[in-house]
Amino acid sequence: MVRDSELGGESREEPVYDKVTQASMNGIYVKAQELDRGHNTVSAPSAAPPGAGADASTHAPSSDGSAYALGEDASTHASTHASDSDASTHASDR
């Protein structure tokens, strides 16, 4: 714990670590039934929408029509990594 007494006495916790390395799926294995074989091209994402970029904003996803098929409702993916509110608190056990 680092106490910033010079800055008004607020305490700020120093992270023990910033990132955690752990075993992952060691391969690119996608079950065949999860794929939409009829769409396997990647097109360029569109430009960021007007107004995007506000602090901690969640941008509208690209409207690139990306047909990258993962077999899950991708809307459930979007919340898996919220941005940290402060870089010093980036540490997290995933």
Partner: protein, 322 residues
């Protein structure tokens, strides 16, 4: 059909000192956070979206299941030259070259790992022996051949055995991470953390101006002290038997198949972490270390003194090279 256009998210931290993109690719969650960029405009978002596009391209090339991917076409029952993307050719060449230094790492293990992936039942001896007969890095070559359109030479992969199957699982995300980092550097990014499904690359220094503090996860059920390493501008890759395994008949099998036996590795190492300047190298070394077990640990250290190794054994013993 699911809506896959909503598979990423970009967000800034308070104060706009960092920008994070989380996205789905390689059948796993990924994230890239860049620090200290020009966050007043959309430039950083364009860079991150470009990174995502790059990853999707690589997935399309290396997926086992997409019929038109380079890997699927290579794994088809053929000995005809298969034209591939230059990045696929380079990945296979790197794996082949690494295999010459570390024979335990064999990217043609695909024939054997294929029969274990189903895991409905344990493959019988005959099936394992038959699959192993197709495992040999000598059976796969990367060549240059004339473009069908007459536009010059293009890379192609040739197999001498139609039933040999390549498996890029022990290297693909590492190679992808290196390409992502190169793309970020081209864009002028100096500090970032790239996390491709657990393959980390910690670019430059931590935004606070100090080294990154990297922790190695201790697998559940293992009694061991927390490991924290300070690093700068390196990749860290962990291969473990605790995340991916399948139980068949009450016995747990891990996902990495040993090319010597054609069976899932029975190494006493449950977590193998390698820290290296190249994520591709770290990825391949981590896979190899996991398979080699504690008996192979010292040899790997001697052969790769430029890398840092951390192995966690089943009994909680931690082996560290530094």
């Amino acid at each position: 059909m699911a809506d896959f256009s909503r598979d990423y998210r970009i967000a800034y931290d308070v104060g706009r000192k960092s920008c994070t993109m989380a996205f789905r690719c390689f059948d796993t969650p990924n994230s890239v956070t860049v620090y200290g960029g020009d966050f007043d405009g959309y430039a950083v978002e364009d860079v991150l979206l470009d990174v995502r596009r790059l990853c999707l391209e690589l997935h399309m090339l290396w997926s086992f299941s997409l019929a038109e991917s380079d890997i699927s076409r290579i794994n088809a029952r053929t000995c005809e030259p298969v034209p591939v993307d230059a990045r696929t050719a380079r990945l296979l060449q790197e794996m082949k070259s690494f295999h010459e230094r570390e024979p335990l790492f064999d990217f043609t293990i695909g024939s054997a790992s294929f029969i274990w992936k189903h895991f409905d039942r344990v493959p019988d001896e005959l099936a394992i022996e038959e699959a192993l007969s197709h495992v040999s890095a000598d059976k796969v070559s990367v060549v240059l051949e004339s473009d069908a359109a007459g536009g010059g030479l293009v890379p192609a992969v040739v197999k001498s055995d139609p039933l040999t199957r390549v498996d890029v699982g022990g290297a693909a995300k590492g190679f992808a991470a290196d390409l992502v980092v190169a793309r970020l550097r081209e864009a002028g990014i100096e500090s970032a953390d790239v996390d491709l499904g657990g393959n980390l690359f910690l670019m430059g220094k931590h935004p606070a101006g100090r080294p990154w503090r990297l922790s190695v996860r201790i697998p559940e059920g293992i009694e061991a002290d927390r490991i924290v390493v300070e690093v700068e501008d390196v990749s860290a890759v962990t291969s473990g038997s605790y995340e991916r395994f399948v139980e068949v008949g009450g016995k747990r099998y891990q996902h990495i198949v040993d090319p010597a036996t054609g069976r899932p590795s029975t190494s006493d190492i449950v977590s193998a972490t390698v820290i290296a300047k190249s994520s591709l190298q770290a990825d391949m070394l981590a896979t190899t270390l996991l398979m080699s077990g504690s008996s192979g640990y010292a040899g790997m250290l001697a052969r790769h003194p430029e890398c840092e190794f951390i192995a966690i054994l089943q009994d909680g013993t931690i082996l560290r090279s530094a």
